[in-house]
Amino acid sequence: MIANIAGLSIYLRVLYDTHEGETDFSPSRTVRVAVEGLVQRDGQYQLAPSVTKELQEHGAWAMLLDDRGKVVWSLDLPPEIPLSYTPKEIAGFTRYYLKDYPVFCWAHPDGLVVTGYPKGAYMRYTLDFAESDVRTLFQYLVLFVIGNSLVAILLYAFLCWWTVRPVRPILHGLSCLAHGEAVQLAERGSLREVAAGINAASGELQRRDAALRKKDEARANWIAGISHDIRTPLSVILGYAGELQDDPALPPQEQEQAAVICRQGIRLRDLVSDLNLVSRLEYDMQPLEYRLLRAAKLVRRTVTDFMNAMPENPCGIELEAIDESIQLKGDERLLLRALTNLLQNSVLHNPQGCAIRIAVRREDGFCLICVYDDGVGADPQKLENLLNAPYAPKRAHGLGLFLVRRITEAHGGQFIAHTAPGQGFSCEMKLPCEPFIKGSPSADPF
């Protein structure tokens, strides 16, 4: 590019100079001025004094040849210059030299004015071009510019590559660092210290990461251990309480008390297993068993299991707007658990009864499983706390909804819940869905 621009500017400069030359003190201009300044007065030729001065400043001489080749006027003519010329001689010097003097000629009304300059003052050279050459010159010029630009671009690319080359591993290292990957750069070259710094940062990050993971794992294992240890004594409690509850020898009041122990034991059992599952999901220790599921079928099964297990529940459950065609990939047991938790939530908070509506529908390419109730609702702030940090100090307790949120998120989905006092509860599990390939129920069922 730079070479191109330089070439162009030189070309323009030459053009300008050439043009400028005509108004400057160039010999070709001077000779023209001389022609104008040479006038015949009283039979004598006289040159304007300014021109004379100009010529003399350059050490030049001048003469006027008449039509027959005779010198009729001259100024400072050197002695070796002849005073008469044949047409052949005139043709010989017009463009070049006369006795080694560079000469310039211009037509005068009375003949030809010739100015001569000291030997060696000017070099005379005439260029001749074939017309076709001049025409193709432009094509060559275009090709030249294109070629030049190409070279310039390649050169630029090469220079870029060449300057970035030592920085590239550093950039790669930084991007790895940003993604939390381990980085080990070769520490050499001018950027040795930068590479060493990145390696050190990566090492530190990895170390912290490992420590954090170890801590998380320890915490999850700790919770798993505790829930395991709680199960066996709880088995004994539930076992005897269950026996007492059914013991006809006991008075009804004591049977009822045993039933309370039993119910609370079951709550404790559910809480322990919720806690264990939450901690496993929290620390990525629960591998999801993905299977292709039909959302409508999953919902029917959950609601049926729920109603069969709790036939005396005071809430009516109604399935509405069930899109049979939605399929999703998910862990059936976890989704069943999440959905059961939503139903339990509604039933538990509305002992006086409420209407639960369930919908399965498609929205923006997602599968929406919705559970709405028209019960007592709750304070939105309390819901917010339940969903985000169920065991933060001085906040609402309970793991049910938090677990639903965790399960939904583990499936790459989103859990959206709304409530207000007296306004019921609205819960939506938004899960990524699969395209449905309609089976062929072609076999004649009759």
């Binding site: 088995s235 005897y240 026996e243 039909r294 079928k297 076999a443």
Partner: protein, 239 residues
């Protein structure tokens, strides 16, 4: 049925209180020949000495885990096994069942859950096949004989059940007094889920009601659980 209570049951668990509780639960249920072992070594001794008919194994034992104990036991005897697990994690369940355990129970459990599962397995394994006939049961004034695919009214009228109706009714009877989803019913009758069979299922249910109900448009026994499925309401009777 009482022959089942004569079966020998081996219970292996490292918690003495739990062992004692299971022992009491089973005795109250009528089982008398109960053997207890706190670890794998004692369990194998008991296995060789008394030849139990069923074993209840804890997964975590002081001298090994329940799964390897199951392998050792299976090398000696093909007895049915129920796992008791306190972990409740899928891996354990799958390994347990994959290795040929007959059932599992997650701790804590209710006494009834344990005895029901034990009797179910004992019945399946030890009750002679000719006794395992399809049941005959009553719905109001009608008697349904699933083995003969026949519905009889008190006044002598008779209806036969088609193959699909029989499959549906068997499924409903197995889960009597509980809702069965339309999906499970279709699975039982056509080996496919509900999608595409909704109307067909409804037609079959209507025909079944004509055979089972006094007033098919106001069913009393074959009830609809709206949006979910159907329920066969059978008067509770000793079964």
């Amino acid at each position: 049925m009482d022959a089942l209570k004569e079966k020998k049951i081996l219970v292996v668990d490292d918690q003495p209180q739990l062992l004692r509780m299971v022992d009491e639960i089973l005795r109250r249920e009528g089982f008398t020949r109960i053997f207890l072992a706190p670890d794998c070594a004692r369990a194998m001794e008991q296995l060789r000495a008394v030849r139990p008919d069923l074993a209840v194994l804890d997964v975590m034992l002081p001298d090994g885990d329940g799964f390897s104990l199951l392998q050792q036991m299976r090398a000696v005897s093909p007895l049915p096994v129920i796992f008791l697990t306190a972990r409740g994690e899928d891996e354990d369940r799958l390994i347990g069942l994959g290795m040929g355990a007959d059932d599992y129970l997650v701790k804590p459990f209710l006494p009834k859950e344990l005895t029901l599962r034990i009797t179910a397995i004992l019945r399946r394994v030890y009750v002679p096949i000719q006794q395992e006939q399809l049941p005959v049961f009553a719905l109001g004034n009608r008697t349904i004989d699933l083995g003969a695919s026949l519905v009889q009214a008190l006044d002598g009228r008779e209806w036969t059940l088609t193959a699909k109706e029989l499959a549906l009714l068997k499924k409903l009877y197995e889960n009597r007094n509980r809702i069965v989803t339309s999906d499970s019913l279709c699975q039982a009758a056509w080996g496919d889920d509900l999608y595409g069979y909704e109307n067909t299922l409804m037609v079959h249910i209507r025909r079944m009601r004509e055979k089972l109900e006094e007033d098919p448009s106001h069913p009393q026994y074959l009830l609809t659980a709206r949006g979910l499925g159907y329920k066969l309401q059978v008067a509770s009777r000793a079964d």
